[in-house]
Symmetry: C3
Subunit: 304 residues, 3 copies
């Protein structure tokens, strides 16, 4: 039921399990401040085959606040996996002997699932290829619930790169568990994959695809912005045109509901203009902290 072992895809989780994680995250708020020794005999291995600041440090902060220890690598070029051509399966079958849980980020789709299949200890997917980033989706849900008091009934706009951004894929699938209205605001070439749109519609969500930020901002309770990467565009002029359209500045914020919130998985480039950082709607840095308590909840539920 509420019992979690691996955390590979948001689709593996029932609404019940998601709610358990969010409730546990709420309880972790006081533990995060006070610190605990609950996991003092546990070791977390972080295997980061891709660069990261936020996700790795967020997991480490979560584990340390629960009294646990951390080992691993942040840079695959310093490991046998990078240098000596070891397979992922062999790396996992090795590292499972050193730790109690594995947190893995890897550039290939399906990698975290493969890791879990070979692992004798629980595996958490900290970002696999372009497809999934389930702990980000969970911290996004937690941020929405904490800041808006609920998830059901909200009007949520997902904006920017909806095609290659793994965070919006996981978040979209997570939201399919709730009774929400969704706006998808993306340039033509970066629209959400039909499979995920279908999933959300099949779950009964009202999903509308729009192609301007104006439509995404108007009436939204939550605006979830993402970064558009230059390298997705063959022609730099096309990138510039798109980038100029899918961003939020103070004029845009003025059109939003006063009690709306703006979230972003970060890092941002300029899709969130620095001038809006002090707006009451700007919640993307508070969202970072929610990542710590959400990951504390996940680690606690899996390990204790």
């Amino acid at each position: 039921m509420g019992r979690i072992y691996n955390l590979i895809s948001i689709q593996d989780l029932s609404r019940e399990t998601i709610d358990l994680i969010l409730d546990t995250a709420h309880k972790m708020e006081s533990v995060a401040a006070e610190r605990s020794n609950e996991l003092s005999n546990k070791i977390m291995a972080v295997l980061f085959f891709e660069a990261s600041t936020r996700t790795r440090l967020s997991f480490e902060s979560a584990m340390l606040r629960l009294g646990g220890s951390v080992l691993g690598f942040a840079d695959v070029t310093t490991s046998s996996a990078g240098v000596k051509g070891e397979t992922l399966a062999d790396t996992i079958r090795t590292v499972e002997r050193y730790a109690d849980i594995i947190v893995i980020r890897h550039p290939l789709d399906g990698s975290a699932r493969v890791a879990a299949e070979f692992s004798a200890i629980p595996v958490i997917n900290a970002g696999s290829g372009a497809e999934e980033h389930p702990t980000q989706a969970l911290l996004d849900l937690y941020s929405i619930k904490k800041m808006k008091g609920k998830i059901d009934g909200l009007f949520i706009s997902l904006c920017g790169d909806l095609r290659y951004g793994r965070t919006v894929h996981s978040l979209g699938m997570a939201l399919a568990n709730y009774d929400v209205s969704i706006n998808l605001a993306a340039p033509e070439s970066l629209r959400m994959k039909p499979a995920i749109v279908d999933e959300m519609r099949k779950a009964g969500l009202k999903v509308r695809e729009v192609n301007s930020m104006d439509e995404a901002l108007k009436d939204a309770d939550v605006v979830y912005m993402t970064r558009i990467q230059k390298e997705r565009f063959p022609d730099v002029r096309e990138y510039t045109a798109v980038q100029g359209k899918f961003r939020i500045d103070s004029d845009d914020v003025a059109k939003m509901k006063r009690d709306a919130i703006i979230l972003h998985p970060l890092p941002r480039v300029d899709e969130l203009d620095a001038s809006i950082d002090t707006a009451p709607q700007a919640k993307y840095f508070d969202q970072v902290y929610n990542g710590v308590v959400t990951r504390m909840a996940i680690l606690k539920l899996i390990l204790s």
Copy 2:
């Protein structure tokens, strides 16, 4: 006697000391599971001048399970030693002020010995050049003893690259302390150095050099396989020929004794075919865990 300070070469250890380490490793099995605070006021510095997953994480896991802390570098390019041309002696004379023990891996032969000479704190060699990897040899001995119940009286085949592989050098010298029969199975150009063969013979071991895996597998109690590196061969065709001969697949396993064990220091490439991973003889991943308890024993014996 049983007292250990540095651990630089397997040749520095008496049979008595080796046995003490293996006995202590056995005692560490329960401590590894439960965790202890025995070294909670100790800091281990890991100085890895060469890429590693297994050895570094294994030492870190061992230290954490004993309650200790870890600092250091996994990548010399982020350190003054790499960037600013500091000598090894100066790096050691610095790091000895930050920690209670140094674990060093370095590409140069003799580097760990130099480190120990300059260090005011104990030094453990985690792999120096092509010559020595004593903690690997100790975990190999521990694996043999744990899995076969004894070391004396066994028939042990060392296979693959016996010339450049530092693990087999250390293991060969370690086995000279025991009453075992040895098969050395290597391609002509990768045969064990005569000095080590002499050492083993002088110690009274029956050593036979063979050049096929068939002879190595037949009647062996322990088959210790190693990786043959492509870059050792000027001609890639020669490498391919050799590589095809010095590997183990399911047909080979069928020729082995039912209660024989296959060990490998890992990472492997394809000298151990994935099809044998589920064979009862395949013990190379269990061997990984033995590295944790063996290193716990070494850290405990040196530091407490």
Copy 3:
């Protein structure tokens, strides 16, 4: 008063605060040996945008000896800050959610100050650009006080690269708080910036600029040597000439006072000949340890 929040520039500290840090460092000597749990619920983030062995490991050793935990990065290429072009302000506003204190090294002048402006948690400058390295200056002062029994009244020579070396800039400004006589010995092109010389003179210090080591060594109580970097010179012959002049060997040591001390922020190349390492005046490796207790004092004063 004695209360410290950030530590960005040595110029932000009063003599009173500096003395408090040095006194606390002295008290840390026994804590460093015994270890404490005083900061066991605190996390230190190390953000090293530049290579370092000494400073990072010294801070980590200090934090671990006080029972605290550490996370961060030693290599910016493994972080979003390096790879995804995140601004320093955004990195700080993220990391402040993961830790209780930030220790930052960054290649740009002013970077640590910027970090502190954006941070909701205390920031310690572990080296910013060519301008400042305040914790090094504090450990240098502590070394002088510990080894000479006092700072006031001493005759101190700062030697080598006084223009680009951030450690001598911070040390020069720190010494302006004391009643000392200063010799500045540097090649013409690497002389101390007039602003710092003026600062010291305005504070009442007797400052003399000399251009030979002989004048710097004679009568000095403290000789503070620094490394001259080849890349500062357009012409390698000029570098070689200068390097041959601004170094210390056994002949030079013979000209020094018997109770003088030689300090160096390390790493050294050959400005301190290895032959002098055993001279009674050579204190640069003991100085390393003083960095641990000084940083323990700073962490304790800020965090507890």
